[in-house]
Amino acid sequence: MSLLRLNNVGKCFDNGTEALSGLSFDVADGEFVSLLGPSGCGKSTALRLIAGLIAPDSGTIEWHGARPPMSFVFQEPTLMPWADARANARLSLDLKNIARGEANARAERALTRMGLQDFAFAYPRELSGGMKMRVSIARALAAEPRLLLMDEPFAALDEPSRQALNDDLLRLAREDRITVIFVTHSVMEASYLSDRVLVMSPRPGRIKAEIALFTGPRDRLSSAFADSQKRVAQALLELA
């Protein structure tokens, strides 16, 4: 079942740059889709359009039913430095004026799921880059989204942190049956995480290739993963 569909979406910036042109794709409910492409191909713009933070200049974004609850994870953790991990994770609940006790419990549960049960009262400046990103994801999960939009969330992390976060993200998205649209420029990450990879062309961005991947259990050492990586890398090469 389709969750959303972009039809010929175009977007120009105020300075006249054409960021996206004729962007069309759909995303199925529960699917993990990666948008892969070079810097400046409009990947982030596409996410912001889907989030409804900006409006398309042309084309439409169609939802199957009402717009689902959404969360956004940015490249930077973008935490509030004056709030501890629990208060950061609680953000969406506070904005909905949910009772403090219940909001704390839900935020703590989200932090625990991200392995941060011992850091609920730590301030962002006391946390490492990987842990800050975990708080950021806990904040997204606490909002109980049906659609999670992620904009190169792990690009700034070291490889072991990134792999651990990739595995946790996959597990949690499956457990909660969250649809994920994941922007990245890493072939490996896209191949490992995604059910489907959409390769985008440079500005103005549009979909140049669509690769359905092996959707079984993930294993970095498996030949299935090696094959996925090869196919995605091939598609990226053909773009150049």
Binding site: R48, A51, G52, L53, M70, S71, F72, F74, E76, T78, M80, P81, W82, A83, L91, S92, D94, L95, K96, Y123, P124, R125, A143
Partner: protein, 261 residues
């Protein structure tokens, strides 16, 4: 040990300079109406202690009233600026005009308009004019410095304008506001002193007026005594705001980490 040494060092220097000052005045027979010795200043301070304390209280009251008025106007206007570009574009140039016009030049007008019968209100208003701009401009900058991705995230979660202001923009502006308060506290004192000078004798009773009055009588030691109290007041205001800044920011702000290292 090293820390105690660092704290004691400036005091030791001050003591040495005072001793040198005392020695020069005594040894060279410098007359007290040119340069009184530290001992004479101490004597003037203790001799006029209660009246000087009343003057200190008067200047402190004017300074704090001016500061509070500047704080309310500055923060209030900065919030209005953060909510509306039209308001900001319309009013900001006038705030700049107010800032660049020397307060000594505006003070006589304010004294006439507010009237010498409300002298303390006039003095506080002049102090407020001096302290106002740093609070306005820093708070405006701080409110705008909120992470725009966080603004977007809050909008995605359905936050209202006021929720974004209260939960994001105001806390993000706090470091800027607290820094501005340290500056504005000192400026408010300067404004109060300037206002007392302009108002002249017979109306105001603050420390600056005591300096003018003692100067007219060539009581230079009393001038120094009042000046010393003004300096102490300025230091106390700065220290109080520094402490407030530390108390609010030290748990989360990056500047606190720099101080620890």
């Amino acid at each position: 040990m090293r820390r105690a040494f660092n704290v004691l060092l400036p005091f030791a220097l001050g003591f040495a300079l005072l001793a040198l000052w005392q020695w020069i005045v005594v040894a060279r027979h410098i007359p007290p109406y040119v340069l009184p010795a530290p001992s004479a200043i101490a004597h003037a301070l203790s001799g006029n202690f209660s009246s000087l304390m009343l003057s200190l209280l008067s200047t402190l009251t004017v300074t704090l009233e001016g500061f509070i008025a500047a704080w309310i106007a500055g923060v209030g206007l900065a919030i209005a600026f953060s909510q509306s570009r039209v308001i900001e574009r319309t009013l900001y140039p006038y705030a700049v005009v107010l800032q660049v016009t020397p307060v000594v030049a505006i003070a006589p007008l304010i004294l006439i308009w507010v009237g010498f019968e409300h002298i303390n209100a006039a003095l506080a208003l002049i102090a407020a004019l001096v302290a106002f701009f740093p609070i306005l401009s820093n708070t405006t900058l701080g409110l705008k410095s909120a992470d725009f991705n966080l603004v977007d995230l809050m909008r995605l979660y359905g936050a209202s304008r006021w929720q974004i202001l209260w939960r994001l923009r105001l806390p993000a502006a706090l470091p800027h506001l607290l820094g501005a308060m340290k500056i504005a506290g000192g400026l408010s004192l300067i404004g109060a002193v300037v206002a007392e000078f302009v108002a002249g004798s017979g109306t105001a009773t603050g420390l600056a007026w005591r300096i003018v009055e003692a100067g007219n009588r060539l009581e230079v030691a009393t001038m120094f005594a009042a000046l010393t109290l003004l300096a102490v007041l300025g230091i106390a205001i700065f220290a109080a705001f520094s402490l407030l800044e530390w108390a609010i920011l030290h748990r989360w702000h990056e500047s606190a980490r720099l101080q620890q290292e």
